[in-house]
């Protein structure tokens, strides 16, 4: 297995420590090395990364590996509850965790805009290191590119991750079965609504904050009480609605949600209502949905509630034999409606 660590050298403007990122930080010379040593190695340093090989050398015992990648282009870069760096670690850790894998190693690649603040970069990198430590993964390889002003919006980050899939665990989005109970680990729509409000400065008051978090220890605690959970998915872009539609198609089942059981924060509900958005379609960064056979649902739910990221865990619906093989919701008034796959971009309404 070859994981590439792309650090080349080309001496230019040596020795000057700058407060902003310049094109020379990406040209592979002294400044690149300085940036790598002063920022990336300072925070990410570990036995594998410190070897500074072209690729990280990993020794892993495994039967099945999980391998994933994700790119992060969020605006604003800093928001209540996190920043782009935290997202970049949590996002990839979560993709591995909900696949039933123990996340082990990450790579990260930065594409930075010329003129970006060194202090902001350091804050982002520091957050990534903290979150990696928190979720028990090592960052073992990386890459930095600097592009001209205006070519990217501040900084973009890509992370890829490798994890080892636990034995006797078979989580797959084709595994949902009629009778399964659907559990979510807490309130939905927090991240997307926070970003949207910060981006547009609506001036809403309240406690809107991103739910950005690594879910691997929560998944561990769920699998510990019941290792045959049928499906676990993290509900990011497209919200829980997108995830349920994908599972409904993959497993060829109908899903019925109960509107009055959905955990949604007052602030999110209020802001969504004003802008004409449905929290079902709004992004999360620390929420997972689990499909568990009814007999084990209570046990899994109770285990989740003992974990800090699952205190508001709730059963929100079921997989049914209903014809149609779509996602439906029983509304508060007792009616039923379709929960369609999100389509296009979310656009706020006129009135």
């Amino acid at each position: 297995m070859q994981l590439i660590l792309d650090i080349t050298t080309n001496p230019e403007n040596g020795g000057v420590k700058l407060s902003t990122i310049t094109l020379s930080h990406g040209s592979g010379g002294t400044q690149t090395n300085q940036l790598i040593n002063d920022v990336f190695f300072k925070y990410f340093g570990n036995d594998i990364l410190n070897q500074m090989n072209d690729a990280a050398h990993l020794a892993i015992d495994f039967k099945k590996l999980a391998f994933t990648t994700d790119s992060f282009v969020v605006n604003p870069l800093f928001f209540k509850g996190g920043n782009i760096g935290k997202l970049a670690v949590c996002g990839t850790v979560n993709d591995l965790a909900v696949s039933g894998a123990k996340p082990l190693y990450l790579t990260c690649a930065f594409i930075i805009e010329e003129g970006f603040s060194m202090a902001d970069l350091e804050t982002i990198v520091k957050t990534m290191a903290e979150e990696a430590e928190n979720s028990g993964v090592k960052i073992v390889a990386g890459d930095t590119k600097v592009v001209e002003k205006g070519k990217v919006d501040g900084v973009y980050i890509n992370t890829s991750g490798i994890g080892v899939i636990y034995e006797d665990v078979n989580i797959n989005c084709a595994n949902a079965k009629p009778g399964d109970v659907i559990i979510v680990n807490g309130t939905i729509g927090d991240h997307g609504m926070t970003i949207l409000c910060e981006r547009n400065n609506f001036g809403f008051e309240g406690d809107l904050s991103s739910d950005c978090a690594s879910l691997n220890t929560l998944v561990d605690c769920m699998l510990e009480v019941y290792n045959e959970i049928h499906v676990i998915r993290d509900a990011t872009r497209g919200g829980v609605a997108a995830v349920f539609n994908e599972i409904s198609v993959s497993s060829n089942v109908s899903i019925v949600l109960e509107e009055n059981l959905l955990p949604i924060k007052e602030e999110v509900k209020g802001a969504a209502e004003m802008l004409g958005f449905d929290p079902l379609y709004i992004a999360n960064e620390g929420k997972l949905c689990a499909f568990v056979p009814e007999a084990q649902a209570e046990q899994v739910l109770l285990a989740m509630r003992t974990h800090p990221l699952g205190t508001n865990a709730a059963i929100i619906g079921r997989v049914t034999e209903e014809v149609g093989k779509k996602v439906y919701m029983k509304t508060v008034v007792g009616g039923k409606r379709l929960v369609d796959m999100p389509s296009g971009i979310l656009l706020p309404r006129i009135c």
Partner: protein
């Protein structure tokens, strides 16, 4: 921000639904005029819980849906100008013109910005003095006062690079056109809470006096809608043709006099074309002489010729409630939210979009 849950109470909804079942045995046709009502009715599955004798008909109250295609085409043309930054509400982005849409134009490099309020254009204009900002001023009485205030603020701040391409419409005249349409057999109206907050319940008195049709102003939460339907069906069954207000937490009899004054100061009431419905007398707003410097058409010297739009599409009948979307031959076959042919599919509050998203 506790203002939502109370109006989504399951227990109270249940009582209201039970009560609705016994109010009348007659066949009753109710039109909800407003797109936000249509969307809420679908989103909460309210049609599922109505007694069989009550039919809800979705009316023409979605501003995007009733804007003629010629408006979109002219907006597209304006957005192609190098010196223009176009500002628009999100709903307009996907509306298909003859050849393109604003979303496509943006991808091709036109500078098009999504705004949440016309007031955002003041900052845009101040930050981009070398550019001309054109705001697509679409919407009913809910948004028209904001356009007026924004123009007044621009004048106060000495901004001479902000223009409005207006297609504002007003609601009562189109309702008059609907009640005089012999093919429609309406027994009552569910009236829009948002528009009514501006124009007041008094603006609908003509329905009751001239046409013997009752109406109930109500809000957009499930309890609001169910309560409104209870009141409306009781009125209909008692042959009481009053205009009732079930949205007293927001709406007053005389509306919002300040907002109305802003509209009166900036606009003249003119005849206006409604997509699918045609020309409705005195149903549109146009900048008056005192504000014509803000009129984008005049500033860019565009001769604007109006035409309706999409052939084969049955938006007209759908907007008048004569047809439901599933009866349109294009629905779901060719016309989908990804590839909307008619405007009722493209707007998030359009009747066809509501059918597609929630009822399909």
């Amino acid at each position: 921000m506790k203002f939502v849950d109370e109006f989504r109470s399951r227990d109270y909804s249940k009582l209201l639904v039970e009560n609705l079942q016994n109010l009348s045995r007659d066949k009753i046709n109710v039109m909800e005029v407003c797109g936000t009502h249509t969307m809420a009715i679908f989103r909460y599955g309210i049609r599922d819980v109505l007694p069989a004798n009550v039919t809800l008909i979705s009316g023409p109250g979605c501003p995007v849906c009733v804007t003629p295609q010629s408006y979109i085409d002219t907006a597209l043309e304006l957005s192609s100008r190098e010196d223009v930054i176009m500002a628009t509400f999100g709903d307009m982005m996907k509306v298909p013109g003859r050849k393109s849409s604003l979303l496509k134009k943006k991808a091709e490099g036109s500078d098009i910005r999504l705004v949440y309020s016309p007031m955002d254009c003041l900052t845009l204009a101040a930050d981009n003095p070398a550019k001309k900002i054109v705001f697509l001023a679409v919407g009913f009485e809910t948004t028209a006062p904001m356009t007026a205030v924004t123009a007044m603020e621009a004048r106060k701040n000495g901004l001479s690079n902000l223009f409005f391409f207006t297609a504002h419409k007003i609601v009562p005249p189109v309702m008059e056109a609907l009640v005089t349409d012999k093919e429609l057999n309406l027994d009552g109206f569910l009236l829009p809470g948002n528009v009514s907050a501006i124009i007041g319940t008094e603006s609908y008195e003509f329905l009751s006096k001239d046409f013997n049709i009752p109406g109930v102003v109500t809000g957009f939460e499930p309890v609001d809608i169910l309560q409104g339907l209870n009141t409306l069906i009781s009125l209909i069954s008692k042959k009481d043709y009053s205009i009732a207000n079930d949205y007293k937490r927001i709406v007053r009899t005389s509306g919002n006099s300040e907002a109305k004054e802003y509209m009166n100061k900036a606009f003249n009431v003119v005849d206006s074309n409604w997509r699918g419905i045609g020309k409705v007398p005195k149903s549109g707003l146009e900048f008056n002489r005192d504000f014509e410097e803000f009129d984008a058409l005049k500033h860019f010297k565009i001769s604007y010729e109006e035409y309706d739009g999409s052939s084969g599409c049955r938006c007209g009948e759908i907007l008048k409630g004569k047809m439901n979307p599933t009866q349109c031959p294009l629905f779901e076959q060719i016309c989908t939210p990804e590839n909307p042919i008619g405007s009722c599919m493209v707007s998030s509050e359009g009747t066809c979009a509501a059918y597609f998203r929630y009822y399909n």
